[in-house]
Symmetry: C2
Subunit: 578 residues, 2 copies
Amino acid sequence: MNISGCEISVNSQVSIVKMAGFRVQALYDFAGEPGTAELSITAGEVLTVTRQNVGEGWWEGVNQAGQTGLFPAAYVQEVKGSQPPAMPPPPLPEAFTDPVQEVNTEDTWGSQGDHQQQPLSSQQSYEGGDYWDDEWDDDSEGGGTQTSQTNNSAYASGQVIPKSGSVGDVSTIGKSDGKGTVGRKNFNRFTTFVKSGGESYILGTVKVAVREEDKVHIYESEKGVVWNPITEPYVCMVASPKKESKLKGLKSFIAYQLTPSFNNIQVSRRYKHFDWLHERLEEKFSLVPIPPLPDKQISGRYEEQFIEHRRAQLQAFVNSVCRHPVLSRCEVWQHFLTCTDEKRWKAGKRKAEKDELVGANFFITLQAPERPQNITDLEQETEKCSKFIHEMDGAIKILMATAVDQTKKHQGPYKREYQRIGHAFSALGLAFREDDSPESARQNLMEAVRVTGNTYHEIGKLFEEQPKLDWEPLADVLHLYKGIISSFPDILTVHKGSLQKRRECEKLAADHKMESSQLSDVVRRTDVISYALLAEINHFHSERAIDFRLAMQNYLKEQISFYQKIVAKLQDALGKYD
Amino acid sequence: MNISGCEISVNSQVSIVKMAGFRVQALYDFAGEPGTAELSITAGEVLTVTRQNVGEGWWEGVNQAGQTGLFPAAYVQEVKGSQPPAMPPPPLPEAFTDPVQEVNTEDTWGSQGDHQQQPLSSQQSYEGGDYWDDEWDDDSEGGGTQTSQTNNSAYASGQVIPKSGSVGDVSTIGKSDGKGTVGRKNFNRFTTFVKSGGESYILGTVKVAVREEDKVHIYESEKGVVWNPITEPYVCMVASPKKESKLKGLKSFIAYQLTPSFNNIQVSRRYKHFDWLHERLEEKFSLVPIPPLPDKQISGRYEEQFIEHRRAQLQAFVNSVCRHPVLSRCEVWQHFLTCTDEKRWKAGKRKAEKDELVGANFFITLQAPERPQNITDLEQETEKCSKFIHEMDGAIKILMATAVDQTKKHQGPYKREYQRIGHAFSALGLAFREDDSPESARQNLMEAVRVTGNTYHEIGKLFEEQPKLDWEPLADVLHLYKGIISSFPDILTVHKGSLQKRRECEKLAADHKMESSQLSDVVRRTDVISYALLAEINHFHSERAIDFRLAMQNYLKEQISFYQKIVAKLQDALGKYD
């Protein structure tokens, strides 16, 4: 719902400041996990939202029977006209209306709170939202909670049995439509961008030195506008999530082992390191949609299967960064990928946090072709992109809901139905047992029918196990692209803002209030932003084609193998009748 | 429920005379066909039965919401202690309590009504129950109804579109647990048997001449006690159900073409001829369970698919008779199978209806081994048979309910789920259409995703079409055996009655009230009945083993072929991604 065109990122800020108490209608059925705070909802039923800052992708609400609980925000849509008056939207970014604002690069990270437009609740959601990491990491800012320790000891003593991890994993993915996330992220990125001076860049007032190695080149090729292609491609394995502990076992966390192919040296990273990296990348690259991290979780729901699935999602994030011509080369990423020394880690961390070439300042590093852009073509291109993103968002939503739904159905009704068939045949086999005639043919029939019963029981189990082979990996790709496309509206807005600024300057020049040499500098700089956008759109489309081709191939291969397994089992059963 | 041991046939008479108004609890869900008189019921809900004489296998009832409608009697069980006082059961067969009753063979068919114990409603159900034949046959006793004419003209003008015939067919099979049918049939057979003088046979008071060709031989072989085996096996095709008409098209009916393999001469028979034949066989062979005809139907529900399925069920009946050593040789069956001439048909019909060797008189024709039977062995054997029948009845009930349920699920939810998956992929394919880049790889991806969407849509259709290939033929075999085993309790009761009579005579002889030569004749005659029973049980088991082996093989082969079709479709879709 955030993604419906260029104007959306501003509107999306409205949605996150909406007060609780508005009414929503369930789009899909959601079966809450028994014994948790989850609330089962039924498609069509109307709920009143009581809290939106529960955790990523979850809302709290009360149904018409008065039951309160959590449900996935993605599963509901707002009932129009039902909400109490929303808070007024925050003012439009000042940078685009006040051309004389000076850039204070030192202030970029230092005083974010000063300009904070978000209500406290939304902020709380952000700061308190990392339940998952808290669960394993008492070393976080806020210190450990009793819950996390309980979980840890339960895990250590083997008392926590992973339960239906696979449903959970896929369904969890499905639950985050990124409404909360996108809203918050967009807001952060956007204010960062404004504060870091997109305006100033266009007007040429940014004074930051750019080292040669920081320059980012854009070319025109037969494939269109492209980022400087990766010349030495590499991959990085994310492996062996391990429970580690410190302070004599009092505090424990999960560490993932990363091994880049270019040096084969393993580094150990925790989720909070990924999270920190993700923030850096988002701040730095205003025009690059940063692939999403796995969703944060309400704690204590899944264990081993969840961690393995989390690893797969981190691998998807790492793959996506490794394949991005700009991200894969950037310093903070290289630091994250290679630093093995605690001291150097902290130094690199500080350095990255003080990076001046973030937000709009990143534009200074761009080295684009000289050919001027045609503004009409650009508008067509961005309009097309916007439309694509909108369509893809809808399609991903449907497919994600299908993945969640099918996963649940495989593990519930499908399994049950096949086992019911098995039960019916078993009953027949049992009845035939009553014929104790020694005639071997009849005995063999009884055994064959019994085996048929077992076969359908096993097919039921195959159904249960199947989603983690087909739907879950597909859902991971959907999750990746859901995150990526959720960044596009902001990116398009930044670009649109630059074109708007250019038009203002053209008007000023026409009114002889701006010199033509100054105008042509402005035009050049907006062209640089346009080149960057075009390069990114191009990269997005070619990655998308590759990723979805692989994802669909994997999905279909697993489906084929699944039905072949069923065929093989049935053939075995049939053989018993010979 | 009728089948739980030897005493049951008497109890089953109680169930058919029970007044309406008793309460039943639904054992299974049943989804009524919208727009018909059917009432959807949910497992566990309690209904009050308002009418039992609706049609074969259907009852009318009212649910707790006050809705009235029809539901399958097999889907409910009586709530104990809920019914108003039932009518008293009919008196026990007099023949076993009044040893001096004389046999009046002339009266066997002539005055059935005189001894009628059934309440009128049950009788109405019987006479008015052949809805299906009425539908096509205005030539019946009551003449055509407006409904049947409407149906005919609608059919002729092509207005009647066959709707979901396959569900209907299987579900219809499932709906008749034969409670009504069995009840009625048992009652008829039983009274016929009593009136025809089982008692008299045992006491040796029957005076009917037996021609050599009417003698039925029983042997002991290495396979146990057997009917004189079939020496010239034959088959008979039931083919080409055709709508025929007479009286210048005013009256129309379906005719089936039967071609026996021994002469290859085709005869044309209508359902009412089958029905007449079935009545003759039931009356004649007290100890042979006659395979059931297809269930009669509430009219106007199905058309072409229904007729084809009806043909398949008639074929199953014909096969079963052809393979029975006694039935396949009997005169009325041969007449039915070979008579092509209208005049000879009527003569043969009259002759069969006047057959003296029916019911207990049929025993006179039996030529059994001389070796005396051991009464303890016999009791063990019949107890085992009774237990087997009971177990098999339960298993068939479960499997039939599964067949009905799976058929509905294939045509409803399964189809829908797969088509939903198809829809989700189609949506993704559509979204990718928005990327109109000329790069062929991306275009090819869009097309491949679109094809994947279509593929799942087609798999949905495969699901819909599948049950008529696997569940429906299996259900036909279940229907056949459901009918056959429903006859066993009566047969076992007849046998038990004869053993009881033998004991009475042994007591009379011990008290010197019967001469020992007379007793040894009684013992011999009860042995003959026992031999016949053992031969029939033996035949039943070997046929059952053959039929279920074939049925299970066919079911599994069709299931394998089904999943292979899915695999092939998915492989085609996968190929599009190359």
